[in-house]
Amino acid sequence: MTAIGTRPAFLMAPALAWLVGLMVVPCALVLALAFFQRGVYGGVDYTFTLENFGRVFDPLYAGIFLRSARIAGTATVIAVVLGYAAAYAIASCRRSLQPVLLFFAVLPFWSNYLIRTYAWIVLLNREGLITQLLRWFGYEGEPPSMLYTEGAVIAGLVYNYLPFVILACYAPLSRMNPELAEASRDLGGSAFTTFRRIILPLTLPGIAAGAVFVFVLSIGNFVTPALLGGGRFQMIGNLVYDQFLTANDWPFGAALSMALIGIMMLLLLVQAYASDRASTRTAPVREDA
């Protein structure tokens, strides 16, 4: 008998059963679906085929994958640069101020995702704030079309996931031993060298975590491309949506979902590798952190 007189397995059982029954089994089912054919009238024809995975690499769909990867990649780079700069600035503030700044940096993250995306429609539409600001500065021409562009999708993704990057980068920055940077400076390293050789490697796990998070959530995103991007097949998430709800080709939709899961797992492995490498190479963190 253990501490509270109950076995851990017994305590974990209900939750694990829920996760297996309503996540593992359904996901395994989708994986299985991907190996069958689409029925003539929609539905599933249970004949084994690898065709669905082949179609993922069809130029039409591969193009959507590449575009999704490009959009997600651009959003990731912008979010990481902005988020790292913000986290660095927060970590450089007075200790007492840091939790407050961090709280307000993360606060928008907890408001509704749809609403945060909608806010960008309000901002970018033809009569929105940006157009009005331009008018106020004397711009007389046609309002610029900013909504329903790739740029709008990227802005929306960066906006939605920036708080997480700030959080992920702040954690290692705030734990960093300031004496390391000082030692580097004392030994003659320039500010840039100190940043590149000391601060950046030490905070790489945070950057990796933030980047993987933004990329994974962006590439599988459905709402932002649907609302800010216009077109139907903007990104993979929309393509999956379409296979299940309009095209009624579940096996192909399943193959696309599995491709998404594959990308996600690959990136998580890369992230695990990055933080592993960082932890074997880096110096001890400050004791009191």
Binding site: A3, I4, G5, P8, L11, M12, P14, A15, W18, L19, L22, M23, V25, C27, L29, V30, L33, L82, A86, Y88, A89, I90, F103, A105, V106, L107, P108, W110, S111, N112, Y113, L114, I115, R116, Y118, A119, V122, L123, N125, G128, L129, Q132, Y159, L162, L167, E182, L217, I219, G220, F222, V223, L227, G237, V240, F244, S257, L260, I261, M264, L268
Partner: protein, 264 residues
Amino acid sequence: MAERSAAARRSGTAVLVLVFAFLYVPIAVLVALSFNEGGLPTVWSGFSTRWYVSLASNQDILSAALNTLVVAVASTAIATLLGTLLAIGIEMRRRRGTVLEALVFAPMIIPDIVLAVALLSFFSMLDVTMGLHTIVLAHVVFNLAFVCAVVRARLKSFDWSITEASADLGASALTTFRRVTLPVILPAVIAGALLAFTLSVDEFIIAFFTAGAGRSSTTLPMQIYSMIRFGITPEINALATIVMAVSVIALAISQRLNRGMVGQ
């Protein structure tokens, strides 16, 4: 980081001003326009609360809000119970299991569209009639993972020997849990529950796929999504403001109860 030049401090401040403007201007514009008198959704014409009044008489929105509340309360209650037990179970175990960790982490990272189509396939293959109950089943999946993460963070610093002391003094397992373990983890449990509630209130895609046909199980995010598809209206601005206010209040309470949760 100490001893920074004035220039470095100024650029740090500039970065923070820019980033906070980026984060808050869109929301501020939205909130401001929800009090706009005129019908044009983006042009200011005077202060008014008429859109909040008109919301209160919109039956579709009210029933969607009620559905959302039902789903959020039910899924939060189940997830809080299961997630807390799971957290205690995991932290009690001496061994670390990779499979277990992955299973508990997966709901937080899996693309929601994938979980959504997986559950849709699953439910339709089992011929389950979908509705609010299937949304609850689905929401518990990710909610319990988040509750578990918050409670586990609290348990990391928990001294298990006090539960042994309690058992040695003759307390039953249940008494020990009620009088020793629970008081220690209660703030985290409540914080986790509030987090789960917020996530469930806001969740759109999984609810959309597991709600089944028919308007009777439309939740608030589904309602908002279909309204946004039809274009910008001042009514959405007002609704958005209320929904954001509710989330922010829930988060603020959760933060107070569980300081440092943000750092997880």
